[in-house]
Amino acid sequence: MDPGIVLIDLLNGLSRGMLYFLMASGLTLTFSVLGVINFAHGSLIMLGAYFAWTLLQVIGGGWFFFPIIIFSGIIVGVIGILIEIFFLRRIYESEHLYQLLLTFALIMIIDGLVLEIWGGMPRSMMLPGSLLGAVSIGGNFFPKYSLFILFCSTAVAILVWLFLYKTKFGKASRAAAADVEITSALGINVPFVYCGMFAIGAALAGFSGGLGLAMSSITPGVGAHIAVTCFAVIVIGGLGSLVGTLVAALILGIFEAFGDHYFPQVAMALPFIIMAVILLARPQGLFGRKG
């Protein structure tokens, strides 16, 4: 095994892993604070990609690329606020099944709207010239954009950490995640926290979609596919644990990168094999709490 190639595979894995983390982090935050598993999360990610695509068509690429991706994230965040207020709120008290079905309905509505607005043709984004091409690392080539994804995802991850631990809202969210009744009794506006947190989760999803799908083709079906990978990540990492999501995402990313290279036949099923193994050996995931 050529160490240079191994390094490339590793970097590839890290880049994918951090992207998975970014994508799944919104799901984890939503679950830990609101207690709801948002099945439509994949669709929100996809939505971010489509918004970014449209904006790029209208405004043009180049220096606008990164701001556009951020802005797409914000748009999806706003949509998240609307979803929380008009739909999610009604089912917090219901059985888990109905919460699940509601978010499932949202998948179909979002996917359907996407089909309606953007059509079924695969779309691809125009990357700015500065991010195209590859750099030479240890004598081998590594796509510049993958490095870009790695840097952006890590930066956003740090921002999220700072937000959760250093800001008032972040602390309130963590309190609500731990114990809603006490948090409410302390005078913290829990509905506002719920809404805000869902919006942030949605914004992260939208942003990760724009960032992550820039190199792939975007179709209305891509949401369901990403969703199921995110579920694998959060189950492996442990529901509600952000650290777990990070570790699981990196593990999956690295396994996939090496898997694609050395065991392509199995690569497709790999996340689910790991997911099943974890569910059987340690259902609460790597970092989840039992019970």
């Binding site: 309905a105 509505i109 369901a224 099923a269 689910f272």
Partner: protein, 317 residues
Amino acid sequence: MNGKNRWVLSLTIFVIAFLLICPAFLPSFTLYLLNEMLIYGLFCYGFYLLFSHAGYLSFGQAAYFALGAYSVAIMYKHVTLNIWLPFLTVIAVTAIVATVLGFLSVRLGTLYFAFITLAFAQMIYAIVFRWTSFTGGDDGLPGVSRGMIDVYFLQIDLESPIYFYYFTLLIFLVLVFVLRKLVMSSFGLTLRSIRDNAERTSFIGVNPQRHLLIAFVISAIYCAIAGALHASLTKMAYPELSYWSTSAEPIIMTLIGGIYTFSGPFFGAVIYIFLKTYLMTMIGNWILFLGVVLLIIVLFFRKGVMGFIEEKWGVRL
């Protein structure tokens, strides 16, 4: 038997009678549709047993649907057209896979159970997708036969739409009858108690996992038989049948019909397929429409159509 129940019985007999004689006057397209409704009805009943009675939501029942579809397609193509062995294979393969996967899955609580069924469904999807030589991979298997019945002196080629319809109808009626017995039995009561309070059942002496496993395997077999019939009807088998979102269809159909009503799964399938066929031409964007319908049901009409009627009329349907 009081007056209302007599009505229900009469209606049931009427519906069955209708199903028996309608090939005489229905156009072939409508017959095809009805055939689909019966098949999806079976798929829904598989899901219904596991969910409405045992209380376990599975994203993986579509995997058994696919298993049934592929088993029958491959058996018809390579082994024999006579229905007995292919269907026996469907049941055997499903029973084995479902017992293994089910045994691993039922140890988990309802949430993790849903996730592991999702994981297994995706794994089966990946296997079907990749094993191109055996399953045709991404393209699937076209030209699936409808088989024929060959027993002693009786030889019926099921390619004919009418014969195949009766074949499906017979299987449907028998399996639904069996399910009815199952659901009303003490096994059904025990399942419902597990759904209600799994912890307490173990303190009564009931082994919840064993009961759940039995329900899981029976459910899988129903889904697989539906899948086998579906492959024959549409003459196709393809990997997407196993994808986790395909499992959503029986869930939604059963919800529309009435998730806690015995006739819910069948009427749910009927309504769903009817709407899909006739509204598709008008509305075009079926997914969006379905999403809105599901949203309305989840927020306002949880009991579904039959459940709603049940409540208004005061009967059990």
